[in-house]
């Protein structure tokens, strides 16, 4: 029971407390680059999750074998392997998405999230926890991507998943799906998230105070 | 003969003309002596004097009551005859307490015996320096740097130019102006004495061109001496700043952190020259000075004031402050200190008392708009807006790197700031913090060295 609860906590940690995008601000490059449309966001999120989960698992399994000194190259090889697999898989099964994500799929290799988790978590924790951590982090990343890309797609093209959502009279604000829009929207989202977190902490603190009184 | 050079930056405040018009036509009148004076023992930059009197002592005018201590120091003399009431700390213009000799005036005005120098032409550098020290000669333009130090030239330094500073660029003030009109000959003679004693080739007199009568008077006074040149300089604040003056008249740049001496120049104020004349030819120490009272007072005037007279007395004689006066300044409006009480004594460095009504100086600060006016008017070519921001973020090291220590606190930046920011104050703050840090660092190093030396001694002893 407690084991399960623990895993759940690890999973939720990736989505909330240590959300890679909003809290840790890692892996900015793909976040900004491909969040112009929701389907791209989902695709990228899932691909990254796949790599994250398996690299976490493998690294955790090998953590006692890999010498401390060469751990970074080892991580690179493990991660690069899974990225190559994902790349090939996506080329085979979802060629259109693969085409639109382009160079950013091989670039999953250098996504700081994966490195950070390998280094700070998987290399020190048992396989099961690492796997769940990878899942949680991946889910957090995917959710963040979906959130950002839906905002950008909605405002920037007036659509969601390619379907027209906004009324015809809406003039889509094209800049939001261009590079400046990516930076600015993520910045604004971060502001919102920070404000929300602050409000939540305040709420928690005041609740804790009330309870203690 | 000499080409005129225009220093960078600078401003032309309207008050430079209008403000001076109030008093520049009024001849110097002697201010009645107050019933009590407070004479601070530190009226110069350097070490405070040691008091030579105690409660109850009888003193005469011109009697030395403070003995100079250390090299950078100048004597202090009684300005009235009477009885010493006490030697106690009093608040001076900067708000700090300093020990003062308080004397009750007996209005007899009995002087000590004055002994003029027998052969003024035979004075050499050392003798004139000693004379300046004992006569309490300091820079009467406001800097109050002991002249004894100024006159002791290091043997390796060659000085070829003596500059008489009659620029008086500070708005409202006309003390030097009137002094030059009244005592042109004495000023020139004083300068000549110094010139001969220190073997200086030429004397340049710099006077702003808003004082044509003073230029005329000075030219006339020195027309027989070919080594003298009187230059009419454009009215351009801060023309009277030492570094600016040297550049204007000689084209030489005083190096950052250096003295005019390094460029072969000595600068003295016309008032100091006059005081030197008196010390040499009359044997009379500095016991009074000319003070302009101007601005929001009933009767603006130029007074000859005994040192230690409270500001109150000056104001009373001038009919008191007008009701619209909001700020009372010890000095001129650009560099003077605002004071909040009227019992502050006049010291050697005080050339004016100015009262101002509410002005845009009291508007609130708003954000810097980066217009660049401050840096274009800065005579030292600094960027005050950035220095100001650095100071407010506590980034003093960076401010030091950007040269804040060069600031001469002339106030041109603040004057011209459209956002009404207190740029001068922040530069001054940075300078203070940095100076203190340097001092602390020096003390720390000294302690460290002492510790090391002690350790070495112990080791050697052990051997």
């Amino acid at each position: 029971m407690s084991e399960k609860k623990n895993l759940r906590k690890i999973f939720m940690n990736g989505i909330l407390d240590e959300n890679p995008t909003f809290r840790m601000v890692l892996g900015m490059c793909p976040t900004l680059a491909i969040s112009t449309a929701v389907n791209q966001g989902i695709g990228m999120g899932l691909a990254t999750t796949f790599v994250l989960v398996f690299s976490n698992l493998v690294i955790s399994l090998l953590r006692n074998i890999i010498p401390e000194k060469v751990r970074i190259p080892s991580f690179v090889v493990v991660i690069a392997t899974f990225v190559t697999i994902v790349d090939q898989l996506m080329k085979a099964f979802v060629p259109a998405l693969s085409q639109s994500l382009g160079v950013y799929i091989p670039l999953i290799v250098v996504n700081c999230i994966i490195f950070a988790r390998a280094e700070s978590y998987a290399f020190k924790q048992p396989p099961m926890a690492s796997l769940v951590d990878g899942l949680g982090m991946g889910a957090g990343f995917t959710l963040a991507l979906i959130l950002l890309s839906s905002v950008r797609e909605l405002l920037g093209s007036g659509t969601l998943m390619g379907a027209q959502v906004m009324p015809a009279s809406y003039h889509p604000m094209a800049i939001i799906i261009r590079p400046p829009g990516g930076f600015i929207m993520l910045g604004l989202l971060l502001l919102v998230v920070n404000a929300a977190v602050k409000a939540m902490q305040k709420h928690k603190a005041s609740r804790a105070k009330e309870e203690s009184v | 003969m000499s080409l005129f050079h225009v220093f960078p930056g600078g401003i032309h405040p309207r008050e430079g003309i209008n403000g001076k018009a109030v008093t520049c036509a009024l001849p110097i009148e002697e201010l009645p002596q107050p019933s009590r004076v407070a004479i601070p023992l530190l009226q110069h930059i350097g070490t405070p004097c040691k008091s030579l009197v105690v409660k109850g002592d009888k003193v005469k005018v011109g009697m030395m009551i403070g003995e100079p201590v250390g090299f950078v120091s100048a004597a202090v003399h009684s300005s009235v005859s009477g009885t010493v009431v006490d030697v106690q700390p009093c608040i001076l213009a900067n708000g700090l307490q300093q020990p003062c000799v308080i004397i009750d005036n007996d209005f007899k005005d009995t002087w000590v015996e004055l002994t003029p120098v027998a052969e003024p032409d035979k004075l050499d550098g050392k003798a004139i320096s000693q004379l300046a020290r004992n006569a309490g000669l300091v820079g009467l333009g406001g800097a109050t740097f002991p002249h004894a130090v100024k006159y002791s030239l290091p043997p390796d330094k060659k000085v070829d130019t003596l500059i008489l500073n009659g620029a008086e660029c500070e708005p409202y003030l006309s003390a030097d102006h009137r002094l030059m009109l009244a005592y042109a000959r004495e000023i020139v003679t004083g300068a000549q004495t110094l010139q001969h004693a220190l073997k200086i080739e030429r004397v340049l007199v710099g006077i702003e061109d808003n004082k044509p009568d003073a230029i005329e008077a000075m030219t006339k006074a020195c027309e027989n001496d070919p080594t003298f040149t009187v230059t009419a300089m454009p009215t351009h604040y801060p023309q009277g700043g030492e570094k600016q003056l040297v550049y204007s008249l000689t084209g030489r740049t005083v190096k950052s952190g250096g003295l005019p001496l390094d460029s072969g120049v000595i600068v003295i104020n016309v008032g100091s020259s006059h005081a030197l004349y008196r010390a040499v030819y009359e044997g009379r120490p500095v016991v009074d000075r000319v003070v302009t009272v101007s601005g929001c007072v009933k009767k603006p005037a130029n007074y000859l004031v005994r040192i230690g007279t409270p500001v109150e007395w000056l104001l009373e004689t001038s009919g008191g402050l007008l009701p619209q006066a909001r700020t009372l300044l010890y000095g001129g409006p650009m560099m003077g200190m605002a004071i909040n009480r009227e019992d502050i004594p006049i010291t050697k460095g005080c050339s004016g008392i100015t009262a101002l009504e509410k002005s845009s100086a009291l508007e609130n600060e708003s954000n810097c708009i980066r217009c660049g006016r401050c840096s274009s008017v800065c005579p030292m070519c600094l960027v005050p807006s950035v220095l100001d921001k650095l100071m407010r973020k506590g980034m003093y090291d960076e401010a030091e790197r950007q040269g804040v220590m060069n600031c001469i606190e002339c106030g041109a930046c603040t004057w011209s700031c459209p956002a009404k920011r207190q740029l001068t104050q922040s530069c001054r703050t940075s300078k203070k913090v940095i100076t203190e840090r340097r001092r602390a660092e020096a003390a720390r190093q000294k302690a460290e060295e002492a510790r090391r030396a002690a350790a070495v001694a112990v080791q050697e002893e052990a051997k």
């Binding site: 190259p73 930076f183 604004l188 502001l191 | -």
Partner: protein, 195 residues
């Protein structure tokens, strides 16, 4: 010659890694607090990118393509880059301790600086059959110079913001991101300069 000029202009301004391709954002946001360190980072990236372009070109054309191993591009390239970065780190540590201290944790981060891998892959895909050797190296260097331009200019902006009175909640990433967004608008003027 003309094509090289185009590559340079393209790399520095038009397809600026940071401003229009979102590559190297981590370093761009992380090492842009001081102009001096930003310049150091830019230099390090330039160095690594130029050499990485060279090596990846060699591996791509003399190893992977002849052996039909193009699918192993990612893994081979990242290995090369990792090794290069490691070497640069060691060289820096020996030759310039101050620069090494200043760049601190960010040197290893060049490994995960996607700009380096991005440029290596870009070299092979930018035109049909990839750039030739000289073009690759020029492209890598130009891209890195564009990165340097962006990061140094951004660092100067951040230094200015630091002594300003930006609201507290804009400190850190939100402010940096929005600032970078405004900055990238200025770079938008070049898009379309080269087709």
């Amino acid at each position: 010659m003309n094509s090289l000029l185009l590559i340079i202009v393209g790399g520095v301004l038009v397809n600026n890694f940071v401003m229009s391709k979102f590559l190297g954002i981590c370093a761009f946001l992380g090492v842009s607090k001081k102009t001096e360190t930003a310049l150091g980072m830019g230099m390090a990236v330039t160095f690594v990118m130029a050499i990485a372009s060279l090596f990846t070109y060699l591996v791509q054309h003399y190893l992977l393509i002849p052996l039909h191993l193009e699918y192993m591009q990612t893994i081979a390239f990242i290995l090369i880059i990792a090794v290069l970065v490691q070497s640069v780190e060691m060289v820096l540590k020996k030759t310039s301790r101050s620069l090494y201290l200043a760049l601190g944790v960010y040197l290893p981060l060049i490994t995960t600086n996607c700009a380096v891998l991005g440029v290596a892959i870009n070299n092979t895909t930018a035109v049909e059959g990839g750039y030739n050797l000289i073009q690759s190296v020029v492209n890598g260097t130009a891209g890195a110079l564009g990165f340097t331009l962006a990061i140094v200019a951004f660092a100067a902006i951040r230094e200015r913001l630091e002594i300003g009175n930006m609201p507290k909640w804009m400190d850190g990433f939100p402010g940096a991101l929005i600032g970078a967004g405004l900055m990238s608008i200025a770079f938008q003027g070049f898009s379309g300069l080269i087709h």
